[in-house]
Subunit: 271 residues, 6 copies
């Protein structure tokens, strides 16, 4: 479906759909069609006859997170919080061997978010390992941890990070059997309950005692990830400060700009 | 949408939409349109050809809390309780560094409320910090605490304050990860359950033991806020008495009148 | 609406709508319209050309509790139980400083009730204090307590009193923050759940441990109220006996008749 | 409504509607109309021109419990069990001061029941005392207790007695405040939940600890009633045997026949 | 209804509907009509002009358990398991005084079952005693117990036996008041909840502590029944082996063939 | 139904529907019809006039698991994980006496799965023994266990294995009475609750204490199976490596190729 749309639009010769695909792991055909439409509109606005890579790259983020909200007035305090928060995500991801490398960091508000950090999965993989999830947890909690480290207290800016991290920690235990304490079994009857058109996620099929153990494990995964994030934030404080300052200055750092500050990522992934 | 409506109505030249916006943080476009309509109606009643700042300011409160109910006969006892209750909110807010400054205090009944205290957010901010929430909790509980301090017992007048305070305390813990005891994770599956057109707020996805810890933390946040309110009420008793008496006399205190009694607010907010 | 109806009917000149309003605190406009209709019907039956105070006062009770059921044969035992039960409510209310004064006591069956005690709120007040609720609890439990004191055992006659008392005790704790043990917070998510046209009252949003504490406090409020009622019943036994005997004789005691036995009420209310 | 139907049918002069009413406490107007219809049909079958007391009395039981099932073959064992079971109900009721006197005992199967014991309430009373309920409990459990005493084991014949007894014991505690241990409050939110046309009986609004206390009290009321029944069964064994034997012989004992064996009931009721 | 159908079909003179009724305790009118239809079809297939006892007896089992599945290939292992399993049911039932005598044992698959054991109730009785239920439990668990005894382990073949046994054990306690530990009361609010056309069986109206006691009693009844079954299986092992072997040989044993091996049943039932 | 479809299509003479049936235990008539359709389509694509065994065998897997996804690019890491994971299932199944013999192992992605291991049930049996389930548990958990053994950590690749294993362990206890600790009874009211067209699986009809025991038993069954899998994986490591390597080389191993590496399976099944 996406190729069909792409062909209908005049793409510049140098456009590499492969490079687009690399930056859009997890995109459905519909998402890609949407992306090509956005790029065509953008090219039209710019009075271009063909869609070039620029339009395609700009459209990726629009499709992912909604339009830029540059017009919105943001206080210096909020900007500073956002800069350190995103720098935290980016630096922690950079120094964790199983996290994907950083593609872009930005403090320009988009849709519902005040800033964002994009990572570039090195490969579309079928299986995810426990190490990847543990590093992902640390990256997700890095924004919160950085705020605490730098400003002494946290804001509501980390709310959706915390919800995502909690969900991952829970799935590690209840779906993937990755908790040593609870072992390789699953918890909760997840066969979807379509109830008047609504899906209720889980029917508890375990005892209260197991519910307590699951909570204990979630706490333990979260705590471990916080510690990992803290260590990097403290050990790489210098980089963190530099990235945050660069963000306050330029608002957006592309991969190359980011790596100029922190160096090239050392990947430790098998395969 | 709000600008469109505003243009259709003859606004006086000296009207500053910016000053209106400052007093209406959190207003939606629909709220603002509603506000401008109300102001136009008021101007018409007053046989004015243009809408002036007076009509706009009066309409803000009407839109926020419903029409004044001056006609309603209120007993001296109820008036006195209201005066001290509102004075409590106002004085505690004034002396807490992270609470917004007072814009207006009134004991004129409006809609469902017997009196009200308006605060003026200094800036429309994206993130809220734990300090802000803790001060907000103390301000919300200040009415209840003042009643107890002054009259020795409490009334049903604080009911909605208590409900709001409880909800904020709960969200600090379950949504914002701001409890040291429970850490940076979220609690409760909040994906909305549209169930025959009704939203059920939360599906408990944690153990009974965690439910107890959450309760313990809510109690602790509430207790802390009460203590903070009490300290200010006791330490600033003189101001409290003066504000309450002024309210009993004039029924409404604007920012300037209020600050004549308590002095100018010292803001401690970053940014 | 009620004034409109009242004007349409020929009211006697000496009718004082103010005195009617005093006896009908909490009446809605619709209730008052209903009352004036009933009074007009009654006047018509009596071949009066105008509605007089008599018709209005008789109609108040009919609207409040349904028609008299004088025809119903009631055993002497049931009459005696009713007389002491109602005397208990009336005497305890009379000697509690925060309870409203007695307007009428009756052992004539009306609608679902075997007898009734009417109180006259001295003023329509916006806020209710803890003291008022505690005295109200003692008054509600006074019928049950009197039965036990006089007959050595209780009957099903107190069932709705007990339900009301339990609900007030619960609200003191969960809605009004008036329990010292549980403090100024609210319990239970009461946002109405309209579920296929039905309202479910409360979604439990607290732990089992808190549920136990709430029960303990309800027990404690009930126990305290029973003690208070018992003390008055024992201390004022003479008055209780006199009121019960007068009720068995006359079936109904108006304020003046009641106060001839027990004296004038000493009010201790502020305001 | 019932009088209207009664007048339309030719009632014998000596028919006393008062005596009919005495035997049908709790009957609604519709039940009484049904009763008079049945009696008229019976009279027609017997080629009588008027309805006599015989037809009325026979119809009472038919309306209460369904038609006789004399044709059904019942084993000697079942007959013997029924005779002792019903004799147990009757003898225990006879010797308990707060239980109504026996009107009829029968081992003729009717509708769903294998036998029945009818009691004649001495008066239609508004209130029921704890003593009455406790004696009622002992009467209900007397069938079960007699089976155990006589045959050494129990059968399914007591199933509906046990359900009724459990419900009464529960209501004593949760609705009538008659438990010393739990005191004068109510338990359970019984406001009817009409849920798609169905009433759900109770929403638990108390803690697990209170649920345990309620169970403990139900057990205690049941145990007390069993003991009371056992004492009478043992102490009046001679009468029990005589009543059971008379039932096996005659199948039905009217009040007079029953009292010839056990003597006249000594009533201890007040009023 | 069943007689009507039976008359419409030509029944052989020697057909005794009484003997048919004896073998079909619990059959509804509809079941009997179905039975007569099946017998008529069978007679037609056999080119008989009248329905004889043979057709009626064969049809009883078809109506009870579905058509024979002789064509299905069954492994020797499955056949051997079935033979010992059914022999277990039959032998245990034979030696328990309160279990009904065996009418037929078969290892021919029918409908969902791999084999079956039919018992012939000696009489259609109104009440069932605890002793009857306890023996019934032992008979139900005898198949499972025999598999364990003979093969050292159990199969899924006992699944529906276990479900039935659990339900009977539960009803003994919660409906029939036959547990010494929990006494003569009922548990669970069973008034049917028709909820969108579906019946939900029970609303728990007791505490968790009572739920535990109920479980303990169910375990105890099951354990007792297993012991009883084991004793008979061990004590009568010789008979068990003979019955199993006869089944493997003949596939079906009628009452007379079965009793030739194990002797005549000694009934200990009263009445 | 399946025979009808099969006859309509030209099947090659040498086609043995019996051999097809052997490889499709548990297939419904609809599944078989589907299978024959797929084979006919495949034959048409290959320009064959008749459907041969090749088309039938290839279609079996397509019907079971969806079409092959050879085109999908899979990383070397994912391929290696899949190879060892499937080799684990296959080798453990091979050396467990009660597991069915291996028919095919493949690391070609099909539908939702990255690889698969097919077993060939030796016979369609009516009953399943506890030993069979325990071996099945070990086989299901072998993929997970192998990943841990070989790579030191696990991936999301075992998710559906874990869910299946948990469900089997639960049914052993709650449906089949195969837990020594909980004994031969069933748990959970499984009568299907059709609720707006949806089946809810189980209504808990046991106490929290029993829920804990069930969880303990599930953990114990899982733990036992993991140990069994580990022992074989360690003891037969050499074979595991060989199978994995062969898979990486050839992608698919048929029964014969697999048995060339590990030898012929020794069956220990009775019957």
């Amino acid at each position: 479906m996406c190729l069909y749309h792409a062909k209908k639009k005049p793409l510049a010769k140098e456009v590499s759909l492969k490079r687009v695909a690399e930056r859009t792991p997890g995109f459905s055909g519909a998402d890609l069609a949407n992306l090509l439409n956005e790029a065509a509109i953008l090219a039209a606005r710019r009075n271009k006859k063909v869609v070039e890579m620029d339009e395609l790259f700009e459209s990726i983020e629009k499709v992912m997170m909604g339009p830029e909200r540059k017009s919105q007035v943001i206080s210096d305090r909020d900007k500073k919080i956002t800069a350190y928060h995103e720098a935290g995500h980016a630096v922690v991801a950079h120094f964790l061997p199983n996290a994907d490398p950083i593609q872009k960091v930005s403090i320009i508000a988009r849709g519902q978010v005040g800033g964002y950090t994009l990572k570039l999965p090195t490969k579309d993989r079928r299986y995810h390992s426990k190490s990847e999830f543990l590093d992902e947890l640390a990256v997700l909690l890095a924004g919160h941890t950085t705020e605490k480290e730098i400003f002494g207290e946290v804001t509501t800016g980390a709310t959706s990070d915390l919800r995502q991290a909690t969900n991952i920690a829970r799935r590690l235990i209840t779906d993937f059997g990755m908790s040593e304490a609870l072992g390789p079994r699953t918890f909760g009857d997840k066969e979807e309950m379509i109830f008047l058109g609504r899906e209720i996620h889980e029917q508890r099929d375990y005892s209260e005692k197991v519910a307590e153990q699951i909570d204990k494990e979630i706490f333990s995964f979260i705590e471990g990830a916080i510690k990992q994030a803290q260590e990097i934030i403290k050990g790489k404080r210098e980089y963190l400060e530099k990235v945050a300052k660069a963000l306050l200055e330029k608002e957006t750092l592309e991969k190359e700009e980011f790596e100029k500050i922190v160096g090239r990522k050392k990947l430790d992934k098998k395969g």
